[in-house]
Amino acid sequence: MTKNRQLLAATLVAATLASMPATGFADSVKIGFVTTLTTPASVIGEDMQNAVNLAVEHLGGKMAGKDIEIIFEDDGFKPEIGKQKTDKLVKKDDVDFVAGFIWSHVLLASSKTVLDSGKFLISSNAGPSHLAGAGCHANFFSTSWQNDQTPMAMGEVLNTQGVKSLYVMAPNYAAGKNMVAGVERTFKGEIVGKDLTKWGKDKQLDFSAELAKAKASGADGLFIFYPGSAGGAFIKQYQQAGLRDSLPLYSVFTVDSLSLPKFQAANIEGVLGSSSTMFWAPDLDNAANHKFVSDFKAKHGRYPSFYAAQSYDTIMLINSALQATGGNLEDQDALRAAMEKANYDSVRGRYSYGNNHLPVQNFYLRKVVADADGNWTTSIVSTIYENHQDTYASECAL
């Protein structure tokens, strides 16, 4: 009978699908890491991947005696793909922790799957206000920051430097708007102009029209947020427009170790001396950071970015939890309690966790300088905030 044969075939196909890769052993800890490994944004994802691998190497491939198994997944810079890959990590690979996430929208789209399944979710970069505030969750942790904090620190910098009028530019998406809201919250002067530019797949990379407006506005300073390759494009055009002397640049998450070597190669001196704020810098003085930065540099020939620093910390945080429970992955409450202590040597120095499981940490003012070897990097100038907690923590019911 043909029908029977087809049924048999159906069962066979399904059985093969089912028996495919049920890898992993009881004595390993599985970590799923979702980041962007294709599209131009993959330059960030690769940096994170390198940092995770370095962390695993530093741990000797083991956490509390268990083998570390990391499964990297590519979100393709799309929330829908990110969610599909997260589903796969949770349902097929049955990982113990899901970490990574560069982009707020990918994290938001994926968070439900992870948290509903009762697994731990650790953000290595994205810090949307929803997950910090009303949508906080016992199993969600972050090794980065909430979006508003860094621009709030920048607002304070502007105040102390006597900037009276500011022109603001950012991409038109949630993180971009958070950055603008952050700087507006603390900056006491006047915002004389604001441009939210097209973002997403079809993002705007030619800022000539906006730069012409900024120049015409006569502002004392220019605040920008352009992560990834858009930042490179922006800085180049800023230099070409000759605004370095008339319109000083204050940026967040734009000038980093990924873009600086390229600026140097392209002779974009306009970026030297520009100010940015951040929770970390490659020259932050502590033993964990020295080890991380020097080993990363030895391996990859350049400074790690803050994305890398956060990803490195993600693995170290998980390790600290496993050390505390003696490698027990079943006891979720013990794991959670251990992570809440943040009892490990972070590359940013010791920090604590707020009720919403976001770091309460310092923020620094950094300037772009040339290091002893002549390579451009960011260097800490002063501390702006000490043990700063994000404003959304009060909305979190935890």
Partner: protein, 323 residues
């Protein structure tokens, strides 16, 4: 209803349908929820591909804006859910009405053009809708919306349950298939197919082909809206990215892989496309290279897609029997 098909084609399609019915049983026995999800996605996109094929395969209208309807359907779940309205009948009704209205308005304009111009104007409308949703801050703009609760059908259906959702989608897909099959067989279908090959002749016969095509466009758009309703529920997340033109071209690929000639074939096309994507993306991050080459080869050498292949096989068998 398979009587029109010759033996092998009918048997393969019937076998494939039975296989689809078996999926949740197998995945629940083996505990592989992930594959149930994957196949649910296949079925949802199969609905969209099926609807697009009514335009592309039967009336020769190539649209690069079909994903817009999926987006509309999905937002008809997401926006009410944002206001704590979880009634599935409301969601589904809205999805159908909104996509039908959008199809009617844009179709009335698009159908004045043909060929390349039709492709570009459908693309233009989809892009406009995309940018509209990108600007809607209240509904997450670029970042989209998370749907925390799936549509509720007053206790009749609980689509939070993966198996229930799967069978619901499968049932809708089969109902749509039967409807389209009848439609194509009916006089209406013959006018549509006739005007694909020779529009002037149909007009000379006294048919208002514009009206026929518009009805076709609206039916197609509404069905895609229903696919969007399911996609929003299934992924628990919506964003303007769902309307991107690349998704429209993916639907076109599904149709061509399945074969534009059959009513059922887009379902096979969707399955082949998505399973191939899943398989290849697990191998290397450079999988798009292999995927692209396979897609190009399928268009260049796979004449008539799976459907064409089966028909040729049938022909061979019948001819062989006749000798």
């Amino acid at each position: 209803m398979f009587s029109r098909f010759k033996f092998i084609t009918a048997r393969v399609y019937l076998g494939f349908t039975l296989l689809l019915f078996m999926v949740p049983i197998v995945t629940s026995v083996t505990g592989q929820d992930f594959y149930l999800d994957l196949l649910t996605r296949v079925l949802i996109l199969a609905i969209a591909a099926l609807s697009l094929n009514l335009m592309v395969g039967f009336s020769g209208m190539i649209s690069l804006g079909h994903a817009a309807f999926i987006g509309i359907g999905a937002y008809c779940v997401g926006i009410p859910a944002y206001y704590d309205i979880h009634n599935g009948f409301v969601h589904l009704g809205l999805a159908m009405v909104c996509s039908a209205v959008f199809a009617l308005i844009t179709g009335a304009i698009c159908l004045r053009t043909r060929g390349l111009y039709f492709i570009m104007i459908t693309l233009a409308f989809a892009q406009m809708l995309y940018f509209t949703f990108v600007s809607l801050d209240e509904y997450g703009a670029d970042d989209g919306l998370v749907i925390y609760k799936r549509s509720e059908f007053a206790g009749l259906l609980n689509i939070e349950n993966a198996t229930t959702l799967y069978y619901t989608v499968l049932a809708v897909l089969l109902i749509f298939f039967v409807l389209l099959h009848r439609l194509v067989q009916a006089r209406y279908g013959r006018v549509i197919i006739g005007s694909k090959h020779n529009e002037q002749r149909m007009q000379a016969l006294g048919y208002n082909t514009y009206k026929y095509k518009l009805v076709c466009y609206v039916i197609s758009g509404t069905m895609a809206g229903v696919a969007g309703f399911f996609l929003g529920n299934f992924t628990n997340y919506i964003s303007p990215e769902m309307m991107d033109w690349t998704h429209s071209s993916e639907l076109l690929f599904m149709i061509v892989i399945g074969g534009t000639g059959g009513v059922f074939s887009p379902i096979i096309g969707a399955a082949v496309f998505l399973l191939l994507e899943e398989f290849l993306s697990g191998i290397t991050i450079f999988w798009h290279l292999i995927f692209g080459l396979i897609l190009i080869a399928m268009v260049l050498f796979g004449k008539g897609g799976v459907h064409g292949l089966l028909l040729r096989w049938d022909e061979k068998v019948t001819n062989g029997a006749g000798q």
